[in-house]
């Protein structure tokens, strides 16, 4: 068993899980969320997860909202555990890819691939489309 945790400032992580469920259905079952609210210390979230990580040698993937935010910086200290991976830059594409794959005991390399893939999903569109050949069999 592996754990997948969405972690964010405010309710983004809950909202993200809601959107994952809309697209991937039951695959969202079992995914956990952590939210940091005004007045709370991110350190408390870290201490709790650290305790859990130390108790059980089970793979944990934490998907944080933004690089360098207090959620990410604090939880990044979990890197001391070899069975914990901390990802930054939460987006729905990456959240879905993780939701569909995290139970497969993902290696660091495999997670890196998913992260790279999600970067390709960021772009902007304006105006007429470029002429593109249609594919055929």
């Amino acid at each position: 068993m592996s754990r997948l945790i969405f972690a964010s400032h405010g309710k983004l992580s809950d909202g993200m899980l809601d959107s994952v469920r809309m697209i991937a259905g039951d695959l969202a079952d079992g995914i956990e969320t952590i939210s940091l609210f005004p007045g709370q210390s991110p350190n408390d979230l870290y201490v709790q997860l650290k305790k859990e990580a130390a108790e059980k040698n089970e793979k944990i993937i934490v998907l944080c909202d933004v690089l360098g935010g207090s959620v990410h910086t604090t939880l990044s200290q979990l890197r001391e555990f070899d069975h914990v991976m901390i990802i930054s830059g939460m987006n729905l594409g990456l959240a879905l890819d993780l939701a569909m794959n995290y139970q497969n005991d993902l290696s660091l390399e495999e997670v890196e691939k998913l992260v790279e893939h999600s970067k390709e999903g960021i772009g902007v569109i304006q105006g007429e489309p470029e002429d593109e050949m249609d594919e055929d069999f």
Partner: protein, 156 residues
């Protein structure tokens, strides 16, 4: 080889792109629809939903039937998407190799009744489904691949 034939009024979208293609390990998606091949804007937007490493072909229903029957699609793990029961019926009528149909979603309209959370069908469409089922085609309802199959014959 045809891995999945699906009816989904949204054609190719996140649910299909993310969960179905990986669940059935499809390497080619065929959108069988008469309007899409003539609509550049719609074609471009459908291309956006294409998962990486998967080929996307868009053809009219008639041309899709010809392509499937010619054998050019045999080498692919093919997922076919149509937007309506009418289209999938025409496709299945033309292609004896289609043995199973997945109903994903159709919009509710005035003259439709709901047969599942996402499927809304007219009387005429129910007749079409019965015809398919009677000649041995499996017709099942599932929005996402990890849901349990509901056989259409139990709800129509």
């Amino acid at each position: 080889m045809i891995k999945l034939v699906r009816v989904d009024h949204r054609l190719l979208h996140g649910q299909v792109a993310f969960t179905w293609t990986s669940a059935i390990n499809a390497d080619c998606i065929l959108i069988a629809n008469d309007a899409v091949p003539k609509d550049d804007l719609r074609k471009t937007s459908l291309k956006l939903a294409k998962p990486t490493g998967v080929k996307l072909v868009m053809k009219s229903v008639e041309d899709s039937i010809d392509a499937i029957n010619s054998g050019v699609t045999d080498k692919y793990k093919l997922m076919i998407i149509t937007e309506s029961i009418k289209d999938v019926k025409k496709l299945a009528d033309g292609c004896p190799s289609i043995k199973s149909i997945n109903l994903g979603g159709t919009k509710a309209k005035e003259n439709t009744k709901s047969i599942s959370k996402a499927m809304n069908v007219t009387e005429e469409e129910i007749q079409m489904l019965h015809e398919l089922i009677d000649r041995g085609v499996e017709v099942e309802i599932r929005m996402t691949s990890n849901e349990k199959k509901i056989l259409a014959k139990t709800v129509i």
